[in-house]
């Protein structure tokens, strides 16, 4: 049977095309388009005194130069603050082109349009911007002193401040619980910045034909870009279409919208009446998109003799960079997901979202979770060390039990809904992990250590996604959903869902994502939500189509719909394979317009019932065609979980760090395609290894990013990523029709915590700061 595909390791259908160069990415479009380039701020903080475009005017091929002054009012407004929050009292966003003040190196100041990118960059190089350099704010602890300000009207550089408290069962607050606990510890943790760093940067291509605007953007949300563009340009929504072509990775940075370029390129295309393309280069991506992760955490914890946490008090300084276009999602996720698989006594968490003169911070795969997990897992290790107990045992002592679901953590999650875990089995997961890595038989030796880290990840946030499914008279199934793909394998898993729901071979199913011409309502691809939300919507849409197909087939076969099933694309009476009608024919029957322009339609006419002259050809309440549309709107997030362990070796002389083994146990509910889930985990672990051992954003005291290239920003190669051993656990989610949970971000979340745990085990001193390089380890050893 080729159609029972849910749960099978079906090979990725997109790969032959993508791996043989058949992909069409943003820069493959519009080979004759004009090119845009930007003059970007060379200073972290400066006032623009004057812009002299004169010297650039002679560049051959120059078409136009725009500064903020040239933008119409609507286009020149500050970019939207997408997700306001009452605690974000001082939210600030940038102008599409800098107005008066630049607040980080890389902020766009002037837009140039020219015949090609070479000419555009030549012109950029000749434009003279006169700056009055202001004092830059770099470094979190310096920023909160407030000696210099990123935004003149934001005292202390604090954009948001939020305190959340969950009292213990006895009603006492965390601070009180810690005071009276048998044991207490206090420490400080540091996590540095990294970034999504998709291999394909951002990019926008726009064409205006005098009436309609077509925009291609390398985005994670074409529907929202469409609304943003229509609003900024004052166009009716139906006049704007936005398409995400093949996208070479997103990892969060492309969910932010609209980027300045997503407004400016379409606006210039309309203004000039010319097709224009902007393809971000790597340096632009480093200094002009978004980063994440930077936090300082001050932790106090009280616990009993078994290592059970009685009170936890965490104060977080969260580096938000220069602007807050995406609100304070990241620190909110950190504060809530910090709790992991544990039920702790009382919890207090306080964060300040702090402005600095650096690239803005928006979610990057994991979106605040790696920092929260780092905090909690470092805490667990410190408790174990303090008590002289096994680290896994201390974790187990704090686990939520398998019988305690749904488990309410008493907080509000990133989607504004209660933080209630839907399902899970943490003790079993720990057992599997210990077995996989050989926890109990690990032989400790100098320079060899084992580490562990656990996490819970809220996935599949709402508000909704939709699916549209159409079966055409050739028997093919066309599935579309509005969210976008960046290589995750949606073409495969959505087709698997449709194949299983409809009983159609996967070869006959095609999937389109991220094209507003095909599906207008969508949220986007982020927060590990595609399988959960779009997957469920597609399943529901398929069920509608199936129901209609069975109804029509039942008519044709003179059978009861309840006796029918669909196998290999053929509707037949259960147990009577000869009483059958293919879905292609059913599709013809569903449409009373039956010109016989192909064999299917010609043949179908023999099934056509006698025309009933007293009824309209399309009966009331019916629609022509065999198609269905449905939406899935989750009541709240579903909570996936995982536990990782690693064995590392540290060189006693060179302080080099090698990961010898890396094991993952992962639970994302029912698996649609275990191979794709494993691929997601491998990719996540690779990014996690980057964050733990290699990547950082090296800002100097002037706010210059001194490693803004792949020469010096050390993204790990395949040679640096350990082999990942995986085991799956499946506790279905009770919240959605498929029982699935998200898997996209899982791999990255606990890696820094796990590697720190293992290095600490190998070296015998605390590892409280990530990433860690051989040079860092050398200095920790010698101090």
């Amino acid at each position: 049977m080729t159609t029972k595909l849910f749960g099978e390791p079906v090979q990725r259908r997109e790969d032959p095309r993508l791996l043989t160069g058949g992909g069409r990415y943003l820069d493959d479009l519009g080979p004759d388009a004009l090119a845009a380039a930007f003059v970007r701020a060379p200073h972290a903080h400066a006032r623009i005194r004057d812009i002299d475009v004169g010297p650039a005017l002679d560049v051959e091929g120059l078409v136009a130069i725009y500064t903020w002054e040239d933008l119409p009012e609507r286009v020149g407004r500050p970019l939207p603050l997408l997700i306001p929050h009452p605690a974000l009292t001082h939210g600030r966003t940038a102008y599409p082109l800098a107005r008066d003040v630049v607040r980080h190196v890389g902020e766009p100041v002037v837009m140039v349009v020219a015949a090609d990118r070479y000419a555009a960059e030549d012109a950029c190089a000749l434009i003279e911007v006169d700056y009055e350099v202001l004092k830059p704010v770099v470094g979190l602890e310096e920023a909160v002193q407030g000696a210099a300000l990123v935004h003149e009207d934001v005292p202390g550089n604090v954009g948001a401040h939020l305190v959340q408290e969950v009292p213990g069962a006895d009603g006492r607050g965390a601070r009180e619980a810690i005071e009276t606990a048998p044991h207490t510890l206090a420490f400080r943790l540091d996590i540095e910045r990294s970034a999504s760093m998709p291999l394909e940067g951002r990019g926008v291509h726009a064409r205006w034909d005098g009436r309609d605007l077509r925009v291609h953007s390398s985005t994670q949300t074409s529907t929202s870009v469409r609304m943003a563009v229509a609003a900024a340009l004052g166009l009716p929504l139906p006049r704007v279409e936005v398409i995400a072509p093949d996208v070479g990775g997103g990892f969060g940075v492309k969910i932010v919208h609209p980027w300045p370029e997503e407004i400016l390129v379409p606006w210039a295309a309309m203004t000039l009446g010319r097709e224009i393309k902007w393809t971000e280069d790597r340096r632009e991506h480093f200094i002009s998109s978004a980063h994440e992760r930077g936090q300082v955490q001050y932790v106090r914890v009280g616990f009993d003799d078994d290592g059970r946490v009685l009170g936890l008090d965490v104060t977080i300084l969260h580096d938000h960079g220069a602007y807050t276009p995406y609100g304070i999602i990241v620190p909110i996720v950190t504060s809530t997901q910090l709790l992991g698989p544990y039920k702790i006594g009382a919890y207090r968490v306080e964060f300040s979202a702090v402005y600095t003169n650096t690239v803005q911070v928006t979610p990057y795969r994991g979106a605040g979770r790696p920092q929260g997990v780092f905090c909690m897992e470092r805490t667990m290790d410190k408790i174990a060390r303090h008590l002289g107990r096994d680290r896994a045992e201390v974790r187990a002592a704090n686990f939520i039990g398998p019988g305690e679901f749904p488990y309410d953590q008493g907080m509000t999650f990133q989607d504004g809904r209660p933080l209630i875990y839907d399902s899970g089995d943490y003790p079993e997961m720990l057992r599997l992990l210990k077995e996989l890595i050989g926890w109990d038989s690990f032989e400790r030796a100098p320079g060899r250590g084992i580490g562990i880290g656990c996490y819970v990840e809220g996935t599949g946030v709402g508000p909704y996604e939709g699916g549209h499914v159409q079966i055409t008279s050739d028997g093919r199934v066309h599935v579309s959903t509005g969210l976008t793909s960046q290589g995750q394998g949606h073409e495969t898993v959505f087709a698997q869902i449709a194949a299983s729901e409809l009983g159609v071979p996967i070869e006959r199913i095609s999937v389109v994502t991220g094209d507003t011409r095909r599906f207008g309502y969508a949220v986007g691809t982020f927060a590990s939500r595609a399988a959960v939300v779009s997957g469920s919507a597609i399943a529901l849409a398929c069920r509608k189509v199936r129901e209609k197909a069975l109804r029509i087939a039942a008519d044709a076969l003179e059978a009861d719909p309840a006796d029918l099933e669909i196998t290999d694309g053929i509707v037949h009476v259960a147990g009577a394979p000869n009483a059958a009608v293919p879905l292609s024919t059913v599709a013809v029957l569903a449409n009373p317009l039956r010109y016989a322009f192909d064999e299917e339609t010609a043949r179908a006419t023999q099934f056509a019932g006698a025309a009933a002259p007293d009824r309209p050809p399309v009966a009331e309440g019916e629609e022509p065609g065999l198609e269905g549309r449905d939406y899935y709107s989750p009541i709240r997030s579903t909570f996936a979980a995982g536990m990782h362990a690693a064995i590392v070796e540290t060189d006693p002389d060179t302080a080099e760090i090698r990961v010898l083994r890396y094991a993952v146990v992962h639970d994302c509910g029912r698996l649609i395609n275990p191979m794709i889930v494993e691929g997601q985990i491998h990719g996540g672990v690779a990014q996690g290894i980057g964050g733990a051992l290699y990547e950082r954003m090296a800002y100097d005291p002037h706010g210059q990013l001194v490693n803004a290239s792949f020469m010096d920003f050390l993204m790990p190669y395949a040679t640096e990523v350990p082999h990942v051993e995986t085991a799956h656990l499946e506790t279905p989610s009770p919240l959605n029709p498929l029982g699935v949970k998200g898997a996209g971000e899982a791999g990255v979340i606990p890696v820094s915590a796990v590697i720190a745990s293992a290095i600490e085990d190998a070296e015998g001193f605390p590892i409280d700061r990530m990433p860690i390089s051989p040079s860092d380890l050398f200095h920790l050893r010698t101090t």
């Binding site: 060179t654 950082r696 010096d712 050390l714 190669y717 040679t719 390089s773 050398f778 200095h779």
Partner: protein, 282 residues
């Protein structure tokens, strides 16, 4: 990331190449030789250099090849890293090349280009320096090609600076053979596979205890130290090497770590080279 405008020249023979270099060198902005392009093209794209002329030597006849001659190996200006590595013409060169970048870069990058580029963290300058090799450069003068040989000790003049003058073309490099019965080694620590080293040491140890090292990444040019006096106390030799280095801090490692590392690596390289020499002798 597009280069500023330049005039492109693609001479087919050495005389034209040299004449072109002389002509464009006369103008202030000058010209640059394009060999494998693995260092020059990124620098152009990032607009870190802006030569008015680019003289592409890839089509010049007679600049390729790796010649084994009595006493050493002569590597032509168009010999790629990969070709030199595969040829196995010189054991230390082969070992060093395995540490240079990645296969795709080694397929294009040239040995001579790497020497002229003179990155203080590059492996090949250290090889040339420890062996006491030389680079042959040519220029156009009075209607004819004139050549001169520059010994390694005079070739590397600073970080990314070599003794090749504007208007000159490096036509080949000379790597002297190891003394009979000598052993060699190249060890380094880099952040990722194929990255420039944080620090690296190549060592040559002769059968009679003559021992020399050259270190990369710990000074403006390869740091060559003769440690024959310490043989076979390689720990003492390593301490002496460490004393000679003046590393800098950068974002990847502190000076203190690099100094420590170069000692560790010097000892490892010397032991390995001595072991090889011993095996040869046996």
């Amino acid at each position: 990331m597009k280069p500023p405008p330049f005039t492109y020249h693609a001479p087919r023979d050495l005389a034209t190449a040299l004449r072109t270099l002389q002509e464009v060198g006369a103008g202030g902005a000058g010209g640059k030789v394009l060999a494998g392009g693995q260092s020059l093209i990124p620098m152009l794209n990032m607009r870190l250099v802006a030569p008015a002329h680019l003289v592409d030597i890839n089509r010049v006849a007679g600049l390729g090849g790796i010649g084994r001659e009595p006493g050493g190996v002569r590597v032509g200006a168009l010999a790629r890293h990969a070709e030199a590595e595969r040829s196995g013409a010189h054991p230390l060169l082969t070992r060093a090349l395995k540490l240079v970048a990645h296969p795709v870069i080694r397929n294009r990058g040239t040995v001579v280009g790497s020497l002229v580029h003179a990155d203080p963290a590059a492996e090949l300058p250290a090889v040339l320096a420890v062996l006491g090799g030389s680079v042959r450069v040519a220029r156009w003068q009075d209607g004819a090609a004139v050549e001169r040989d520059i010994p390694a000790a005079a070739f590397f003049t600073g970080p990314m600076e070599s003794a090749v003058l504007p208007g000159e073309l490096a036509v080949s490099a000379w790597f002297p053979s190891l003394a009979p019965g000598a052993g060699c080694a190249f060890v380094e620590v880099s952040r990722r596979h194929g990255d420039y080293a944080l620090a690296g040491v190549c060592a040559v140890v002769g059968p009679a205890g003559a021992a020399r090292v050259a270190c990369v990444g710990v000074g403006p040019v390869p740091v060559v130290v003769d440690v024959s006096a310490h043989a076979p106390d390689w720990a003492a030799a390593a301490r002496a090497v460490r004393e000679e280095t003046e590393p800098d801090d950068d974002i990847h490692a502190t000076a203190a770590y690099r100094r420590h590392l170069v000692g560790v690596l010097a000892e490892r390289a010397l032991r390995e080279a001595a072991q090889e020499a011993e095996n040869r002798g046996a």
